[in-house]
Symmetry: C2
Subunit: 83 residues, 2 copies
């Protein structure tokens, strides 16, 4: 299992409720690929969304996001973290 950060574009003007709905659409099916989406952050002005997840692979993250209706190819494995 690895930790991943992925980036979406085009979410301009999206609300908190809409982000929650998109996140729940991921979470509803994530277990099928062994993925867990932990957090997501949205900038509604630029339309960028950042999602933090744990998953077996980049491809698993991409498959869940695609099936949930918000595909992205910008998925980074982030094995190094500081807090």
């Amino acid at each position: 299992m690895g930790t991943f950060m992925d980036v979406h574009s085009g979410f301009v003007g999206v609300t908190a409720d809409q982000l929650k709905e998109a996140h729940e659409a991921d979470q509803a099916i994530e277990a099928e690929e062994g993925v867990h989406f932990e957090r997501a952050w949205l900038d509604p002005e630029s339309g960028k969304v950042f999602c933090l997840s744990t998953a077996p692979s980049r491809e698993a993250v991409m498959r869940i996001h695609e099936r949930a209706g918000h595909p992205t190819t910008e998925v980074y494995e982030v094995p190094i973290q500081v807090a």
Copy 2:
């Protein structure tokens, strides 16, 4: 105060120790601008770093990163979050 996610490129091959050092360089001066860097995630293959912070403005985040030696203009305010 807001929450910000910023993105750096070019950190290919950077180690955990080097990321910790860069993060500590931010933290050493962040209080001067009312910024707090909470977490950072690194993909050493693509060279992308994502930093999560709280700060009074985008510009404050940019000034601290610049003074600490790793400038970026890619700073997003992320007022909407899910977990």
